[in-house]
């Protein structure tokens, strides 16, 4: 790839800005990505701490480490945090940093909207966790079943925090959905047809389709719940004792929630699939096996994912026809999933496997996901699920797919892409130690849960009696959880040590197949000095083959004068602040009277004003950002 030095052009003096202001107003997708990742990692540690306390409480029968009320807050927040504040935003870090790089673009389609998604997420996460300070953290489960979530049975502000917090986070996801969907469809480098895109980009595209179609459902569900809790309606409340007219149906909540909730789990896993599909070819030194099959199976999984939601409701007595339909649909979805697993093994098969840390975690992903997938197929059998559902068997299943699947893959992605993001190599020895501790800790924590579940231990119980045989399994799980905690400390130590004195990373430390490895580590602000031309998939391998080399010469850092980049802006942050104030106002407006009190109106005004200023923000502002 040519590395031209661009002529400096006369630009208006660029006002010196403080570091804090730079980061608060950034619209650079790479910085937005890093902010996503850093915040998400903090929330992940909080969610992990919640899990450790849960495990310490369940370590032995009849334990009194925490009160039942606090325990219920812990497991509600653990689930909510891990799904919405950890896995999704860590994935968002990779979407943000790497989708433009993988498609050869300079930024996303809507840079300011991108920044707004980030700030809405951070403020939403803070809002949700602020509830702990009031001693009123959400306590109705991450799924908030009615009528437990109604005013009658949840009179405190706990479930208001949950309801409004999720609404805020949903807005962040929807905005990001629009952004990445547009970016991928519109901003690919010349020659990069859809079937030449990297698999990770495909996974992001399909994930955004899922977001755009499923998040509106939870948005509506939460609006109806807000109406029930704040304005006195009875969509989900059967009894009139809560103040509404009564006559609502708790099943309505379940259907609405799971029509969102099932695609949500595919939102959590598809990016993980994409990351593994990037890593395996590079560390096997051969292309992904069955690219087209991988694309179509992923699309098929997403499509079918909208047809299985009531498998979460197998114990509700829907009748044999509905039970049969959802059993069969759930079994069907196992087929494209299996195809993907076989294609990954096919990628490894006949390769020349390079055992570096990213490959370890990617292999761990495949091994653990196979297990989670198999317990998932067991759940698909509705009569069997009548024993398994709402027990620790389900807890085992979804941790195998979400932790053994998503987290292992996101960790693989972290090790893989760390050099590109930060210009440093994470230590290999520590990485391998992290892997073994995490693999052993993870299996010790969650494998016994298959047994405790089948032996009769229900979910979401703050303690259990002696004499039912659960004791040993729970103790094993708690020990495993402590080992997991140590594994994350190893990772943190690796990050900190690398930050201070780590080996500098070249542009292409792994022999990559995709375009991000063709630019310096970390990339310059404009990513590509010259727009890449793509002729086939695995674009960088193609370029290397054409040049007859395994690794291209190290690209020089060049002046970017003359490259126009999106200007930084305050308005995404202020819009997010306005939205937060609006939602807080709904919570403060009780009992029901005129829907929106002064706080909500103020929040709305701030958001509306910010959007107005945003829309009219000049494109070529005098201090418009020129790459320097």
């Amino acid at each position: 790839m040519a590395t031209t030095v661009l002529e400096p052009t006369q630009t208006a003096a660029y006002a010196k800005r403080s570091v804090l202001v730079e980061w608060l107003t950034t619209v650079d997708h790479k910085r937005v990505g890093i902010l996503y990742g850093a915040s998400a990692f903090v929330f992940f540690l909080i969610g992990g701490l919640e899990a450790e306390v849960i495990r310490l409480q369940l370590m032995k029968p009849d334990n009194h480490l925490v009160s039942p009320e606090f325990y219920n807050q812990l497991f509600t927040m653990h689930g909510t945090t891990m799904i919405f504040l950890a896995v999704m935003p860590i994935s968002a870090m990779f979407f943000n940093f790497f989708v433009p790089l993988l498609i050869g673009a300079r930024d996303v389609a809507f840079p300011r909207l991108n920044a707004m998604s980030l700030w809405v997420f951070i403020l939403g996460g803070l809002f949700l966790n602020f509830s702990f300070i009031l001693g009123a953290a959400p306590n109705g489960g991450w799924f908030g079943y009615a009528p437990l979530s109604s005013r009658q049975f949840a009179p405190g502000v706990n479930m208001d925090f949950w309801m409004l917090g999720l609404q805020i986070l949903g807005i962040a996801s929807l905005a990001a959905g629009v952004n990445f969907f547009t970016t991928i469809l519109n901003m690919r480098a010349p020659g990069m047809t859809l079937m030449r895109m990297p698999m990770f980009v495909w996974s992001v595209l399909v994930t955004q389709v899922l977001v755009l179609l499923s998040f509106p459902v939870i948005t509506v569900a939460l609006i109806l719940l807000t109406a029930d809790r704040t304005f006195g309606s009875s969509f989900f409340s059967f009894s009139a004792a809560g103040g509404g007219s009564g006559g609502g149906d708790p099943m309505l909540w379940q259907h609405l929630f799971w029509v969102f909730g099932h695609p949500e789990v595919y939102i959590l896993i598809l990016p993980a699939f994409g990351i593994v599909s990037e890593i395996l070819p590079v560390f096997s030194r051969k292309p992904l096996f069955g690219y087209s099959a991988m694309v179509f199976s992923m699309a098929f999984i997403a499509f079918l994912g909208f047809g299985v939601w009531s498998h979460h409701m197998f114990a509700t007595g829907m009748g044999p026809l509905a039970d049969s339909f959802f059993s069969l649909m759930t079994m069907l979805i196992a087929i494209p999933t299996g195809v993907k697993i076989f294609n990954w093994i096919g990628t490894l098969w006949g390769g020349s496997l390079q055992f570096r840390t990213p490959l370890y975690f990617a292999l761990g992903f495949i091994a653990m996901f196979i297990m989670g997938g198999l317990s998932g197929v067991m759940h698909a059998v509705q009569p069997a699920d009548l024993q398994q559902t709402d027990t620790y068997f389900v807890v085992a299943h979804f941790h195998y797919v979400l932790f053994g699947g998503s987290i292992f893959s996101l960790t693989a992605g972290a090790y893989y892409w760390w050099p590109k993001m930060f210009g440093k190599m994470l230590d290999e020895g520590l990485g391998k130690l992290h892997f073994w501790l995490m693999l052993i800790g993870f299996n010790l924590t969650f494998f016994p849960m298959h047994f405790s579940g089948l032996l009769g231990m229900p979910r979401r119980i703050y303690t259990y009696p002696k004499g039912l045989g659960f004791d040993g399994y729970n103790m094993a799980s708690t020990i495993g959880a402590l080992i997991l905690a140590v594994s994350f400390m190893v990772f943190l130590y690796n990050v900190i040590r690398t930050w201070r004195s780590g080996e500098h990373a070249p542009a292409d430390p792994w022999g990559g197949a995709t375009l991000e490895w063709s630019i310096p580590s970390p990339p310059q602000e404009w990513n590509f000095a010259v727009e890449p031309m793509v002729t086939e998939k695995d674009a960088l391998w193609a370029m290397k083959r054409a040049a007859g080399v395994r690794i291209l010469p190290e690209p020089a850092r060049v002046s970017g004068k003359g490259i126009h980049l999106p200007s930084p802006s305050w308005w995404p942050l202020f819009t997010a602040i306005g939205l937060l104030i609006f939602m807080t106002g709904i919570m403060l407006k009780r009992p029901w009277a005129f829907p929106f009190g002064p706080v909500s109106m103020a929040g709305f005004a701030i958001a509306a004003f910010s959007i107005f200023k945003w829309s009219y923000e000049p494109v070529d502002h005098p201090t418009s950002h020129q790459a320097h």
């Binding site: 437990l148 114990a315 093994i345 047994f451 089948l454 979401r460």
Partner: protein, 365 residues
Amino acid sequence: MRHSRVPRWWFAPLGLLCTLAIVLLAGCSGPYPQSTLEPRGDFAEMVDSVFMKTVYLATVVFILVEGALLWAVFKFRGKPGDPDPHQIHGSTVVEIVWTIIPAVVLAIVAVPTVETIFSTAKVPTTSTDGQPPMKVEVIGHQWFWEFRYPELGITTANELHVPVNRTIDLRMKSNDVIHSFWVPQFAGKRDVFPNRETRLWFTAKVTGEFPGACAEFCGTEHGRMDFYLMVDSAPAFQAWVDRRHADSTMQFNGMPMHPVVAAAGQAPPPVDTLVAEGQKLFQSKGCSSCHSISSMHVLTVIGPNLSGIGSRKMIAAGWLPNTDANLRDWIEHTQKLKPDVLMKLPMPVSDAEVTALIAYLRTMR
């Protein structure tokens, strides 16, 4: 750049073996009274049959697929300087084969699945002992279980007596939020709702005492909403029913009551003064405003029905053994044992008064 070292081949199998060993050793704490794996009733047996099919199939798939993965990982180890491997992109034939095989395997599972869905959906018309199914109404409350026998006119709580070999036709609802009725040895679980009735059924094949639990998160004390299923022989069940029917003499007889059922033709035993005092306290301390001590003609249920409380196995919804010490602890320190339950004594009760109450409750068999 540091060169990678291939992991020692025995790392992975050793790690997993250790995990398995710990897990199985942990398991050496049986028996398992609440297990789904030892069905003792027809519904649970049907479920177990289709479940075990999936377990065998899953084990085979596990060995084959994980095996292929491990094989690939060890057979195709490379070093940084190695030449590039053959750059294959895929194979349409292979894709078709490994799409069809899982489809066939799933079809094999789908048939018994649908069969079992339909067979478990229908309540059998006759029980094994030749009698028609017995209707039992289950009402979930935060945080206890109410059981009613409409054909027998009996209301009770937290301990469900049924005759062996009789099909039990459960008609279930909730008084408040969603709960789930689960007694694993006999049937899968079924959620209970405030606005609609759900159904479940089972036929117990052996007698015994079997723990069950609430299996849908229902608030603060979801973790302590257990119950016991007592499968009685036909005569034992009848004796229990007779004792419950005798409860009505206590409710409506304004005379000083004889809580112990007199044997036929015998004079009622003399009333123990401690028991009589306990009986008075049960009213005067406000217990009877929430708890009915009789199982007959019970209209409103606020707290669990206490008919037969003297001989129940557990108290506080299936988890505290029914000893005098625990009963005392429960009356005197309810909120400490089970925070947030509705039971808060309206007026203080002294230790001596609790002794009298317990003496009275113990006579309610």
